[in-house]
Symmetry: C2
C-alpha cells in the first residue's frame, strides 16, 4: 500500500481466472447463499458499503466489505474510495476483469464483495421503529430495490421482505437500491404473522396499501394536517403520525386475502386520472411519504 491506500501490485488482467469466476458466480443465488456474500457494483454502491463497513467495525461489529476490486482509472477519478477502503482488501483489476465479475456490462470501474447485511426482525422491532416498509411476496428485483430506495428517502426505520419475496442481494435489486441497501436495516424472509404480532405488541399500526381499500390516503393526510393546524377536532380512522408498518403486495396480485386480513386498515392511494392502478414503486412512495410527512410535522 502506498500512502493513498492504493495497492501497488499489478492489476488483475485475466477475466477467465478462477478468482474472477468466483466473484462472477455471486450473480447467482446458490453461490450467494453458500458463501453469505453478494456483489455491490459501481462507485455509489461500493461507497455506501464501505461507509457501513466503517460504522459497523468501529462499533465492534463484524464488517460488511470483504474485498474491493477497482481499476486504476476509477481510483484516480474517485480517490476517496481508496481512502474509505482503508483496512479492506483492495485489488487493482482491469476493465475486462471488472466486466467479467459484474452483472452489469459497465460496473464503472469498481465492485465489492460484501457480506450479507440483513438483520433480525426482533432487532428492528426492539429499536422502536416509527415507519416500516414491508414487501409481501414482491418478485421483481427492480421493484424491490426501488421500494427500498423510496423507503430510505422517506426516512423509514426499516424494510422487511417476507418469505418468498425476491432475493434483495440479486444484482439488479442491489443496483436499484442505489446504495440504500446499506443505509437502513433490512429484514429478509420474515414471517408475516410474526411481524404483525410483533408490531401489535409494540403499538405499531399495520396499514395495507390496497387499491380497494376503504380508507383514502388523502383523507388521512387531510385529517393529519387539520390536527396539526388545530383547524378541526374531527376524529380520524387512523392517525398517520402514529408508528406504522405499511404492507405492500406482490406487483401482479397485490396483497393476498390473508395478508390483508392482518392489517388494521386497508388504505387506497387515490387515482385521479384513468390509470387502472399504480405500480408498486409509485404506490409505496406515495404511502411512505404520506406517513413520513405526517410524522415529521407532528
Amino acid at each position: 500500500m502506498n500512502e493513498t491506500g492504493r495497492p501497488q501490485e499489478l492489476p488483475m488482467s485475466n477475466p477467465r481466472a478462477d478468482r474472477v469466476r468466483d466473484v462472477a458466480k455471486l450473480a447467482g443465488r446458490p453461490a450467494r447463499l453458500k458463501r453469505g456474500r453478494f456483489l455491490a457494483e459501481g462507485p455509489q454502491a461500493v461507497r455506501e458499503a464501505l461507509v457501513l463497513h466503517r460504522e459497523r467495525t468501529a462499533a465492534g461489529e463484524s464488517g460488511v466489505v470483504h474485498e474491493v476490486f477497482a481499476s486504476e482509472s476509477c481510483l484516480d477519478r474517485l480517490p476517496e474510495l481508496a481512502e474509505l477502503a482503508d483496512g479492506v482488501a483492495l485489488r487493482l483489476a482491469n476493465d475486462d476483469v471488472l466486466a467479467a465479475m459484474a452483472d452489469t456490462v459497465n460496473p464503472q470501474g469498481i465492485v465489492a464483495v460484501c457480506s450479507f447485511v440483513d438483520v433480525s426482525l426482533e432487532s428492528v422491532l426492539d429499536a422502536g421503529p416509527r415507519l416500516i416498509a414491508v414487501m409481501c411476496q414482491v418478485r421483481d428485483p427492480g421493484n424491490a430495490g426501488t421500494v427500498l430506495r423510496a423507503a430510505d428517502a422517506a426516512g423509514a426505520d426499516a424494510v422487511v421482505l417476507t418469505a418468498s419475496s425476491v432475493d434483495i442481494y440479486n444484482p439488479k435489486a442491489v443496483r436499484s437500491t442505489a446504495g440504500s441497501l446499506f443505509h437502513l436495516p433490512v429484514v429478509l424472509g420474515a414471517d408475516i404473522g410474526e411481524l404483525v404480532a410483533g408490531c401489535k405488541e409494540r403499538g405499531i399500526g399495520i396499514l395495507a396499501a390496497d387499491g380497494y381499500g376503504t380508507l383514502n390516503l388523502d383523507k388521512l393526510q387531510d385529517e393529519n394536517a387539520a390536527r396539526r393546524l388545530g383547524a378541526s377536532a374531527a376524529s380520524s380512522a387512523y392517525a398517520l403520525e402514529a408508528p406504522t408498518a405499511w404492507l405492500f403486495g406482490n406487483e401482479a396480485q397485490g396483497l393476498s386475502d390473508s395478508e390483508l386480513a392482518l392489517a388494521d386498515h386497508r388504505v387506497a392511494v387515490p387515482v385521479y386520472g384513468s390509470a387502472e392502478s399504480l405500480n408498486l414503486g409509485t404506490a409505496a412512495t406515495v404511502c411512505l411519504y404520506a406517513s413520513a410527512r405526517s410524522q415529521q410535522a407532528s
Copy 2:
C-alpha cells in the same frame, strides 16, 4: 367474422412469415418512424388502445389500432377484447407467431399494431391544462413509462417529452406505461423553450423538480393545506393549486442549467432518510401527487 366478432380463418402459424417479421420490426425505431406505427403488447395495453380507437373514431378522428393479432385461447379468456376490436382487423395467430412479433417473451396472447398517438404541443396548451408532466431528456424507456403512468394516476392533463428524450413508442416504454399511453395526451420531441413560453402566456407556472431546489415541496403542501383550512394567511412562494407544469430531468444528470433557468422555481422533494437522491419515478410521483392533491382539494 362470427357473431362474437372473432375471425374464422385458420390461425397464422409461421413465425418466419414476412408479415410476422414486419410486425417484429416495430421493436426498432427506424421501422416505427418509417411507418408511423408501434406495437402494443398484452391484454391491458391492447384493451386501452382499442378503447382510445373507439373514442377517436366515434369523434370522427383517425383511428389508433391498425391490426390486432391474438391467440384463440386469449380471446376465449377475454372475449371482451374481440368485442372491443369490432371494426378493427383482427387476426388469429398461434403463440409462436405472437412471440416472434412481440418484444416480450410472453405477450400474453395478444398484440396490436397501433398508429402513433402523440399530439401537438399547441393542442395540449390550448385545452387549458392544470397539470403537465414534462420529461427533459429522459433516456431510460422504463423510467419514461413509469413517469407517464404516474402522471396518469395523478390525473395530469398531459405528458410532454422534450427533444432528445427516449422514444415513448419503444416496446419497453410502452409496457411500463401499463396502458396509460392511451389515457392522456402525449407530446413528443417538444422544444423546451416553446413549451415554457406557451405555459407562461397561459398563466401556467413552471416548477423544476431539483434536489438542490430552494423551495421545499413539503412547505408548499403545508401552505396549501393551511389556505384550504383557513388556518393561516401566510403568503406562499408558489401556490401548488395553480396550473403547473413540472419539469423532470434526465435520470443521471437531472435538469440542465438551461432547463433550470426556464423554471419559475426550483422545488426539492425532501429526503428524510440517508438516500442521496430519489429516482426519477419516485420524485415525479411525489411532485405530481402533491400538485394533484392541492388542485383537487382547492
